[in-house]
Symmetry: C2
């Protein structure tokens, strides 16, 4: 059976007892999460989320790219989210290569020059996470009062470690950001 | 209790019986999915997926943006995925606004000129889906033999409708692509 057939079979079963007919369009918990695409990171499990509760934005690394920022603006402006989370994780593939390695490999394999392609690898997990949170919080189109939390997911334990929060008025949360 | 506290409480429970300690880095079903960030679309449920099986790439619309292509290249080249899926869905927010509406609103609310920001809305769901599948299949850095399937998720029923496949050698699947 092809992968497409496997998925269609599973989907037919899902439709038999489909419970989400009446969900509203805006996420019911008013949150949006930017996270790495990594297969080991299941945001429903790690965050205790149900279907319909959050916008999920994912890419290689869990980075605040222009595309992620575009998605966040649509999320808060048109669909009412009011709190953002960014999740990077231990053992991330983005920590394991250099741009030039992948560019050279792609150029050799495809015959098309890949030297201008920035794959956005990084070498320091916490520094990268802080950069993403800052990029979102400081974007001129994102309101300063939207809290942006940065978390590291530990693939060995399931732990979501709170590293930083920006845009948070509450004193305890600011402290958590400062001491992380 | 703040949203962050709620999530940390749920996450502590998750860690108690964390079952995924020994997952490999490459997705075990060797697939990557590009899908809309919509809260109603739960890819685990709709595809019959488990944690660890697939790379999940999500943005507003489920679009083959430069960032999604970056993620797909990393996915197949460094982490061994061999089949791609693109999922857009009925009732998508991207069908409900014009670029100029959102640009004007943002400019008025933030005082920063948003007239150059392309939020990538679209007006024809199937045409958009076909465009995304084609953009991925025709990208010079994506091998032509990787099948790319385009599916529409129906938020009212849970149905994943197969609309198009490119890069598929199997005759039946080509036919499904042609007649969809």
């Amino acid at each position: 059976m092809s992968k497409l057939d496997e998925i269609r079979t599973a989907n037919q079963q899902y439709q038999q007892s489909f419970p989400w007919r009446h969900l509203d369009v805006p996420p019911s918990r008013n949150i949006a999460i930017v996270a790495c695409m990594d297969a080991r990171l299941n945001l429903y499990e790690a965050f205790g989320l149900k279907t319909g509760e959050a916008h999920l934005i994912r890419n290689a690394g869990g980075l605040a790219t222009e595309d992620a920022i575009r998605s966040l603006i649509i999320s808060y402006k048109l669909l009412g989210t009011r709190e953002f989370f960014v999740v990077e994780h231990t053992g991330c593939g983005m920590l394991s290569f250099q741009n030039s390695d992948l560019q050279d490999k792609l150029t050799a394999d495809t015959g098309t020059d890949a030297s201008g392609f920035d794959f956005l690898p990084f070498s320091d997990l916490k520094a990268s996470l802080r950069t993403q949170v800052d990029k979102i919080h400081s974007n001129p189109f994102i309101p300063k009062e939207i809290p942006v939390h940065g978390l590291i997911y530990h693939v060995e334990s399931g732990n979501l470690e709170h590293v930083v929060s920006l845009g948070v008025k509450d004193q305890a949360s600011e402290l958590a950001g400062q001491i992380a």
